[in-house]
């Protein structure tokens, strides 16, 4: 479109007088031309094409479109590009799974959280810490207080100093945080061929794709496709950016035995442990959604009420009529 009448517009704008006498009122040319040629519609169209405002606005529109496209897609339009990286280097995008807590009103499935904690404890906790979850956080969520106390007492914690100034070990209590599998990051790396197992407390929030990504990663281990070399000690997972991940597939059918009799398939365990990790990342989730319902209801009512009050108060102002009653001329 621009190319079609761009040339004509440029040609016609060329003979414009660039310098005008100073005593002439400086009107924009578009305005002057339009005023002179309103008699005929074709002349109006001509003047529209000739006008400088049209040229400037079309140029601005074009530049704005290109800038917007470049900002949105990161490259100039209509220019072919060559990438040195493969799309697989970004990792596959995980599909969207129908989580039981996905809806606006849906809470977590707490039986699933309980099973997921079991999977974490028996499988993931061998390498991954859960620093930000304390034993007490499980109470009233997935376990009752006696169960959690018993679980905490199985772990020894270092505490102190005592009256002699020495550190001592004691059994765990509700206020203690989940014990880490390694003493520090260096020990974790040394135990895993240099790869650091990330802390899982906020992992669902910390990864693009969230719960879908973690589930896809846990269940997505496949043999590398032809031509893809995976180094010794690494494993191929298409959902992991780069494809090669230090963690091997850990979930296999029947790995754990759920106390509620749920068949421990790979996908069941992955779904449960991801639900557990989602709870660990968002422990306020259930309460937040309930408060959200209340807030939406209350603020909707308040908005409608304020709109009504505004209309009510403005009605006389909007509907009044102002009459001009000229004073009678009494001079003659």
């Amino acid at each position: 479109m621009l190319r079609r009448w761009g040339a004509g517009a440029l040609n016609r704008t060329a003979p414009l007088p660039l310098f005008r006498p100073k005593n002439v009122l400086r009107l924009p040319r578009a305005l002057a031309v339009r005023n002179a040629s309103t008699a005929s519609s074709s002349n109006a169209f001509e003047s529209f094409l000739n006008s400088r405002v049209t040229l400037v606005s079309v140029s601005l529109f074009t530049a704005g479109s290109v800038a917007w496209y470049t900002h949105l897609y990161g490259s100039l339009p209509f220019l072919p590009q060559v990438h040195a990286s493969l799309d697989s280097d970004e990792g596959l995008h995980p599909p969207a799974y129908p989580w039981s807590h996905m809806g606006l009103f849906d809470t977590f499935d707490h039986a699933s959280i309980r099973r997921g904690y079991q999977v974490y404890r028996e499988v993931c906790a061998a390498c991954h810490s859960l620093d930000r979850i304390a034993w007490r956080n499980l109470v009233g969520v997935s376990h009752n207080v006696d169960e959690v106390k018993a679980m905490a007492e199985e772990v020894e914690y270092q505490d102190g100093p005592n009256d002699e100034g020495e550190m001592f070990t004691r059994t765990g209590k509700l206020a203690d945080y989940m014990p880490p599998p390694y003493a520090n990051e260096e020990a974790a790396r040394a135990g895993n061929a240099g790869a650091l197992p990330p802390d899982l407390s906020l992992i669902v929030k910390a990864r693009h794709g969230g719960a879908d990504y973690v589930f896809s990663l846990l269940t997505g281990y496949v043999d590398p496709p032809a031509g893809v070399e995976v180094r010794e000690g690494m494993n191929y997972n298409p959902f992991f950016p780069g494809g090669a991940i230090g963690m091997a597939r850990v979930l296999f059918d029947g790995l754990v035995e759920f106390e509620d009799g749920t068949p421990a398939t790979t996908s069941q365990m992955a779904k449960d442990v991801v639900t557990f990790l989602h709870w660990a990342a968002e422990p306020e989730h259930d309460e937040r959604k309930k408060n959200g319902i209340k807030a939406v209801i209350l603020f909707s009512v308040l908005t409608l009420a304020s709109l009504y009050v505004k209309r009510f108060k403005w009605t006389p102002i909007k509907n009044r009529k102002i009459f001009y009653d000229p004073p009678a001329d009494k001079t003659h």
Binding site: T107, A111, R114, G140, S142, A150
Partner: protein, 62 residues
């Protein structure tokens, strides 16, 4: 006697009664609204929350 007159005589006439009504109404609305939302929420999520499944584990220890 119309409703508005009754309302005026019982609630709005004395400021002390009016303020008391406002406070009592806010209190009652708070409880009622909370109860209503919670009832809906628990019905929507029946069987998923901890209070729905805790009876399975309540006697498991001690």
């Amino acid at each position: 006697m119309s409703i508005s007159t009754t309302l005026y005589n019982t609630v709005f006439r004395r400021n002390s009664v009016f303020v008391t009504t406002v406070f009592a109404g806010a209190f009652a609305f708070g409880i009622g609204f909370d109860t209503a939302v919670t009832t809906f929420y628990d019905r929507w999520n029946r069987g998923k929350q901890w209070k729905d499944i805790r009876h399975k584990y309540a006697e498991s220890e001690e």
